[in-house]
C-alpha cells in the first residue's frame, strides 16, 4: 500500500524516530485542542482563550522539531537543478559544503536562542502565563536535534567506509 507521497506504510512504523513520534503527538494534540476551541465557540457559545495560544505554540514545536525529521530524511526543499548538472565528484564536494552551511545556520540559531532565552527568562505568555522560554526552547531543541541528525549521517557514512 502506497501513500500519496509514495511511502510504504510498514516502513513508516519502522522508521518512526523519536522526533517523529513527538511531532505526531503534537499534531494530534493541537487537533484536539483546536477541535475543543471550535466546539466551545459554536456549541457552548463560550470561547476558550487558551486553545489558540496552546495551538500556536504546538505549531512552533512541530516546525522546529520537524525540522530534524526533514534533515534526517533529506526532505527540506532545495533547488538542486545546478547540482545535477555537475560531475559526480564535484557534486559530492558540494553536498558537504551545503551540509556545512546548514550546520552553521543551525548552530547560529541555537546559540542565539540560548542568548535570547537569557533575556526573556521572566516573560510569560499572554493567555495562560506560560514562561515564553518554554516555547523558545522549541528552536533550541529542534536545531540541536537537527545538528545531531546531520552529524549522524556523516558518522553512519564513515562507519560504512571503514567496513
Amino acid at each position: 500500500m502506497e501513500s500519496p507521497q509514495g511511502l510504504d506504510y510498514r516502513q513508516i512504523w519502522r522508521e518512526l524516530a523519536p522526533e517523529d513520534a513527538i511531532c505526531v503527538a503534537l499534531l494530534v494534540s493541537i487537533l484536539i485542542v483546536m477541535g475543543l476551541g471550535v466546539f466551545f465557540r459554536y456549541v457552548l457559545n463560550d470561547s476558550l482563550t487558551w486553545t489558540e495560544e496552546i495551538s500556536r505554540y504546538g505549531l512552533v514545536y512541530i516546525t522546529y522539531i520537524g525540522c530534524a525529521t526533514a534533515v534526517r530524511r533529506r526532505s527540506h526543499i532545495r533547488i538542486d537543478l545546478m547540482a545535477r548538472l555537475l560531475p559526480p565528484a564535484i557534486q559530492r564536494v558540494l553536498a558537504v559544503i551545503i551540509d556545512l552551511l546548514v550546520f552553521v545556520f543551525l548552530v547560529f540559531l541555537a546559540v542565539n536562542t540560548i542568548r535570547i532565552m537569557d533575556v526573556l527568562w521572566t516573560s510569560r505568555s499572554a493567555a495562560i502565563g506560560l514562561p515564553i522560554n518554554y516555547v523558545y526552547a522549541a528552536i533550541l531543541f529542534g536545531t540541536v536535534a537537527s545538528v545531531i541528525r546531520l552529524a549522524g549521517q556523516y558518522l553512519a557514512r564513515s562507519r560504512r567506509d571503514d567496513r
Partner: protein
C-alpha cells in the same frame, strides 16, 4: 543590499535548502551591518507564532486523509458517471474530479499524488496515451490551490496581511474558469485524435455513484460554504475538514486504520515543518527588506517605468512567472509578497486580486522545468521519464495562460464574489 540578494542567489543555485539559504543570507547581512543578531531568533519565532498559520497543518492533513481514505475513487466514479460520455470522456472526468477534490485539498501536489494516480490508471486502462493523461492530470491538479482551501493563499494572506477568507472566496471563479478552459483543450484533442468515450450513464448509475460519494462530495460544500457563509474562519474550516475526513475514513467508509492514519500524520507534520520553517526564515528576511526600505524603493522604480496600473500588472506577471519557474512556490510567495506590497498600493491594485494572480502564476511555474515540482510527481506516478513528462505537460500550459490573462485584465472575475460576500 547586493550582499543580501547575492548570497541568497548563490545559496539557492548551489542547492542549499531554501530555509537555510534565506536564513543564512539574512544572518550574514545582520552580522555585516552590525544589527543585533538576536532579532533573527525573535523574527523566526514571531513569524510562525500566528494563529492563521494553524490552517497550514490542518489543510495538509485533511487532503492527505481524504486521499488515504480512498474517497478519490468515489469522486472519480461520480465524475465519470456525469461526464464520461463526452468525447475524450476521461479527460473531462479528470478535470471535474480534480475540481471537486480542490475543494477539500490545499495543494496541487496532494491532488496530483492522490487523485492523480486514480486518474492516470483509468485513462491508461482505456487506451489513452500516457502523455495526454499526464498532461491533463498535472494541469487539472493546479486548480487545487486556486479553489479554497489553499495553502498558498494562507501563506500569502499571512505574509501580506490580507484577509484569508477574501482570498479563498476570490479564487472560486478563477478556479472554475480554469476548469472550463481545460475542458475546451481536452475537447479539442479528443476530437482531433478521436479519443474514446464511455456509454452514457443511466440515471440510476449517476444516483448510485452520487450516493456512494455523497459524504465525500459534502466536504467542499462544508469547507467552501462554511467560509463563504461566514460560519467558520479559514483556520476553523481546516480543523473541521480534518475531523470530517476522520469521520468519513474511520466511521463511514472504514478505510482508515491506525496504520494509514499514523503514516498520514507523519507525512503531514513533515510537510508542515518543511513549509513552516521556510515561512520562519522568510519572515526574518522580510523584516530586513522592510528595515532597508527595499519594498518602497522597488515601488519607486516601478513608478518610473510604468505609468498605468495594467503596465505594472504586466511587469509583475512577468516577474512572478520567472520567479515561479526558477523557485519553489511557497518561497516565491514568502520573498516577493513583502517586496511587492507597496507597489500594489501605489497602483491601486487590490491585494486580494493580486493574490489570485500570483498563485496562478506560480502554478504555471509548478508545471515548467527546471524545478516544477508537479513534473517530478507526475513523472514518478506516471513512470515516464522527466523529458517526456515536460513535453506532455507543455500544451496544457496554454489554457492556464488564457486564464492568467483573463484574470489579470479583468480584476472583477476574482473580486466580485468576495465583494458580494464581504461587502
Amino acid at each position: 543590499m547586493i550582499i543580501l540578494f547575492g548570497t541568497l542567489a548563490v545559496f539557492l543555485v548551489l542547492g542549499v535548502p531554501v530555509f537555510v539559504a534565506i536564513g543564512l543570507a539574512a544572518a550574514i547581512y545582520l552580522v555585516i551591518n552590525d544589527i543585533p543578531v538576536l532579532i533573527s531568533v525573535q523574527q523566526m519565532f514571531d513569524g510562525i507564532d500566528k494563529f492563521p498559520l494553524l490552517a497550514v497543518p490542518f489543510f495538509i492533513l485533511a487532503g492527505n486523509l481524504m486521499n488515504a481514505a480512498g474517497i478519490t475513487d468515489r469522486l472519480f466514479a461520480f465524475a465519470r458517471s456525469l461526464v464520461g460520455h463526452v468525447r475524450g470522456g476521461l479527460g473531462h472526468v479528470n478535470i471535474l474530479a480534480s475540481l471537486i477534490f480542490s475543494g477539500m485539498s490545499g495543494t496541487a501536489i496532494a491532488d496530483a499524488g492522490g487523485l492523480g494516480t486514480v486518474e492516470l490508471k483509468a485513462m491508461r486502462d482505456q487506451g489513452y496515451d500516457t502523455g495526454f493523461a499526464i498532461g491533463i492530470t498535472a494541469a487539472s491538479s493546479t486548480i487545487g490551490p486556486i479553489i479554497p482551501p489553499s495553502l498558498a493563499m494562507v501563506v500569502y494572506g499571512v505574509v501580506g496581511n490580507v484577509s484569508i477568507g477574501k482570498l479563498f472566496v476570490a479564487g472560486i471563479v478563477p478556479g472554475l474558469l480554469m476548469a472550463v478552459c481545460l475542458h475546451a483543450i481536452v475537447f479539442y484533442f479528443a476530437v482531433r485524435r478521436d479519443y474514446p468515450r464511455d456509454p452514457r450513464a443511466s440515471l440510476r448509475q449517476v444516483s448510485r455513484t452520487f450516493r456512494s460519494g455523497f459524504l465525500a462530495l459534502l466536504t467542499p460544500i462544508i469547507i467552501v460554504g462554511g467560509i463563504i457563509g461566514g460560519v467558520v474562519t479559514p483556520t476553523e474550516a481546516a480543523v473541521v475538514a480534518v475531523l470530517y475526513a476522520l469521520f468519513i475514513g474511520v466511521i463511514a467508509y472504514r478505510t482508515l486504520n491506525v496504520d494509514n492514519v499514523l503514516s498520514v500524520l507523519r507525512e503531514s507534520f513533515e510537510t508542515t515543518a518543511i513549509t513552516m520553517i521556510m515561512v520562519a526564515a522568510s519572515v526574518l528576511f522580510g523584516w530586513i527588506l522592510v528595515r532597508e526600505n527595499v519594498a518602497s524603493q522597488f515601488a519607486q522604480t516601478m513608478l518610473e517605468f510604468a505609468t498605468e496600473a495594467w503596465h505594472a500588472l504586466l511587469i509583475l506577471n512577468v516577474i512572478l512567472l520567472i520567479a515561479g519557474i526558477f523557485m519553489e512556490t511557497i518561497a516565491v510567495i514568502l520573498i516577493l509578497t513583502p517586496i511587492l506590497a507597496p507597489t500594489l498600493s501605489a497602483y491601486g491594485i487590490d491585494p486580494v486580486h493580486f493574490g489570485v494572480v500570483m498563485v496562478l502564476n506560480l502554478m504555471i511555474g509548478l508545471m515548467t522545468p527546471p524545478i516544477g515540482l508537479l513534473l517530478f510527481v507526475m513523472a514518478r506516478i506516471g513512470k515516464l521519464d522527466l523529458f517526456a513528462t515536460i513535453r506532455a505537460v507543455f500544451p496544457f500550459l496554454l489554457p492556464l495562460f488564457v486564464v492568467l490573462i483573463l484574470i489579470s485584465v479583468f480584476p472583477w472575475i476574482s473580486l466580485f464574489l468576495p465583494r458580494l460576500v464581504y461587502g
